[in-house]
């Protein structure tokens, strides 16, 4: 990894963490959703810096859609989506602090404990990466993806059923 790559990686990593903090520091639900989006976009940019082109582009694309849809649900279901009433976004602070702290220690332990062996092998070209991903999706991971797809389809049908207002019975 070159110096420029390392610098970009640090920059986007810092951006991801910063936007993650903004999610909880704002009172506005929409700002919170968009901050989460940009945090995830920064993670996508980190993939791009690490030459995982397909994954990076996919992450950047998918998050824009998902977070926007999440934003509209927040606006629909929260009483103060614009944060005009200075609603506090945090709750159960003591528990959250402990959970966050333990999570951080666990992550650091994994980073330090993992056996990082030598330099990584050269990254294959972007086209080979996409081909390898295709083989993975249609090979050993196929069952997982098919199962997930079926579950999402079931949830979509169920959500539609819940959303449809029952028709008035004729007397």
């Amino acid at each position: 990894m070159s110096v420029a790559q390392a610098l970009f990686l640090i920059f986007f990593g810092a951006a991801a963490v910063w936007f993650g903090i903004v999610v909880f520091r704002t009172h506005s639900m929409v700002r919170s959703a968009i901050a989460l989006l940009f945090s995830q976009t920064a993670v996508g940019a980190m993939f791009l810096v690490m030459q995982a082109e397909f994954l990076g582009v996919l992450q950047i694309m998918m998050m824009a859609t998902e977070m926007s849809v999440m934003a509209i649900f927040m606006v629909m279901f929260m009483m103060d989506p614009g944060g005009m009433g200075k609603m506090d976004m945090t709750h159960q602070k003591r528990l959250s602090l402990w959970a966050g702290g333990i999570g951080l220690v666990a992550a650091l332990a994994v980073i330090w404990g993992a056996g990082w062996t030598g330099p990584v092998p050269p990254v294959p070209g972007a086209a080979e990466q996409a081909a390898a991903l295709g083989r993975e999706l249609l090979g050993r991971s196929m069952f997982i993806f098919e199962a997930a797809a079926l579950m999402i389809l079931t949830a979509m049908v169920a959500a539609t059923m819940v959303a449809i207002a029952p028709r008035e019975e004729d007397d």
């Binding site: 929409v30 700002r31 968009i34 824009a64 859609t65 926007s68 614009g82 070209g125 086209a127 996409a130």
Partner: protein, 299 residues
Amino acid sequence: MTLAIILFALALGCYLIAVLEDWAVHGRLDPLRPAVSALALLGREQVLPRKSDRLFFEVGPVLLLVAGLLAVAVIPLAPGLIVTDLATGALFLNAALAYVLVALIMAGWGPNGAYAMIGGWRFLGQFVAYAMLIVMTITAVAMRAESLSTTEIVTSQAALWNVFYQPIGFVLFVIAAMGLAWLPPIDLPTGGGDLAGGVEAEYTGARLAVLRLARLVIVLALASATATFYLGGWLGPWLPAWAWTAAKTLAVAAAMLFLGRHLPRLREARYLAVSWKLGIPLALANIILVGVIALVVPI
């Protein structure tokens, strides 16, 4: 040097599309009109709405412009005349244009006005309609080219343009692209007679100029993407390569700007219903058809 040429082509293309839009709306071809309008916008007073989400209000139009510019970066003007020839170019175009949605939601939410906000959320409804169609038609194009790189997609059409190879995909892509660029008849996010300008309602002066410029860049990106994916990009006899890309892009842009104006406005719920009930089955059929043709008679 390449970047300078492409930036010049981009600026010229946007200007010509503005002239074409003026022609589509008012029926007269006035080459000076966009310049005069731009100067008038820049000279006008900039009104700031009260109690606005200032950050979103300012960032929205700029993000829209950035999304359009990033999308243009993967479109080849001629062999070698491209900002970056990514191996995942066609997907990257889609990823960049996904931020049009984010930008319009921010621009709609920012000014704290009812019309603007409804316009922004309407675009989300529209997005759910066109998003699948764009991705699924690009899938079929990439299947034939066996690559997501935009230059390889162009060269794969040497024997036969994709518009003849996969006409269903072409029609679906154009309809979806018109939804993405909120062109009439699917222009409810900024509907003039309906929402007092929708997302544009609270923008004035230079900010409105940026918003309109970003929209022109997006129309240009989508017209050039249509030319690249379906009309053989730079391929063509006699003329130099860049001239073919330019001619095809402007022809597609003119068609997209002109045709829709003669249809009644499409409500986003109706657009959604048509896209999902008719568009997605057709897009799936297109993918299967292209797959079969590619396997049986490789052209």
